[in-house]
Subunit: 205 residues, 2 copies
DNA sequence: ACGAAAGCATAGCAACGTTATGTATTGTGC
DNA sequence: GCACAATACATAACGTTGCTATGCTTTCGT
């Protein structure tokens, strides 16, 4: 009954915006569509305006983050896994610092709050495994551990990726997470070993 | 030899910008000077443009933060003081969430990195006192404790004030700081009591 | 006291996001 | 099949943005 929308244009624009973000070109309506063959109106038919494009970009950021977290394998050491998820989170933030900033920039609306929850779920699952493996004290709330780990990860990511701290400050992740997990009942020495092993993945990159 | 600059105009513009930030009015060059009697050019003579105004606003944010941290008294319990500084930090971020966002928004330049250092110094001093009081293990690096506390405070502030977490999540500050300070050598029970006492100040506001 | 330099008001400019308008295209009901 | 209608999309114009050019006014130094 009408001309149909081409989904390829949508992903083309999002990917181009992501590329411009990475190369630090200012993303304007006109510069975004320049050279793509599409006109400025495409942004309005696909995103309803520039605000919609930024929102889609944030969603894309959370999608990529989730994909990266999904690559972290579940090993026999759930505390290691928890730290490895934190390391992966930081790695993602440092690989795309500008996208990471956009993700937490605008005031949150309910639409993609689900995406942030999806990010949390990986942490919750790992915390649950740590508890049932006896590394954390019985009765430990996995969601609480997850949120507290996230707080540390986000604080570090935001201060290093877009803030005043230099990147060696990432090393603070080890004592911070070790202190947290130890407080949940894990043995200090064992905990430190688990966290350090997981953190090496971040240093290697 | 020339007409002299009136410093009152500068503070007037900064305060008006701060007010507009709090009331969530968009800050544009023209809306900023509207009703003040001064013209748009004033922004250029005093700040060199809108970028300069934002930079001055961030500086103002750090100044207010430093002033607030300075009101935290040094008691006989240095671990309590450390947590109290964290609570004051969070209180400031929640009282002016938009200003807090601006403070960490733009890419940092060297000019006001000193301001961020000034913020850190309060924490470093408290950590030093905690160590010499025997609450932390000998050899504990006060700067390390300070940066790690800051990471927790900023992570919490940024996720709650401008992010997806609801304000009750601020309560995570207690277990997080307790875990950190305990890992530095403080007695768990005593540490928790110190931190909780300091945190009540935040809940009361 | 006079002249040069700085403050600052006015007006104009390019670029921004958005909206209005017209044209082309395509799925749908007969 | 075919005409109709709705949607995609290009073009162009509009209001507002930050900024700069220009000229007047003020005031400090000699």
């Amino acid at each position: 009954m009408a001309r149909t929308k081409d989904p390829a244009v949508r992903t083309l624009l999002i990917e181009r915006a992501g590329r411009m973000l990475r190369t630090r070109e200012p993303i304007t309506l006109r510069s975004l569509v320049a050279g793509t063959g599409v006109s400025t109106m495409a942004v309005y038919t696909y995103f309803g305006g520039m605000d919609g494009l930024w929102k889609a970009l944030r969603q894309e950021g959370f999608t990529r983050l989730a994909a990266r977290l999904a690559t972290v394998p579940a090993t026999a050491d759930p505390v290691h896994d928890l730290a490895a998820l934190g390391a992966a989170y930081l790695g993602n933030a440092l690989d795309n610092p500008d996208l990471y900033r956009v993700m937490f920039d605008a005031t949150f609306d309910l639409e993609d709050s689900g995406a942030a929850d999806g990010t949390l779920h990986h942490l919750v699952a790992a915390a649950e495994r740590a508890e049932s493996a006896g590394r954390f004290a019985p009765g430990t709330d996995p969601l609480e551990v997850a949120v507290q780990s996230w707080t540390i990860g986000h604080g570090l990511a935001s201060l290093v990726a877009t803030g005043p701290l230099p990147s060696p400050a990432l090393a603070h992740g080890v004592p911070l997470l070790t202190a947290l997990f130890t407080s949940k009942g894990d043995t200090p020495a064992r905990c430190r070993r688990s966290v350090e092993t997981a953190w090496n993945r971040l240093a290697r990159e």
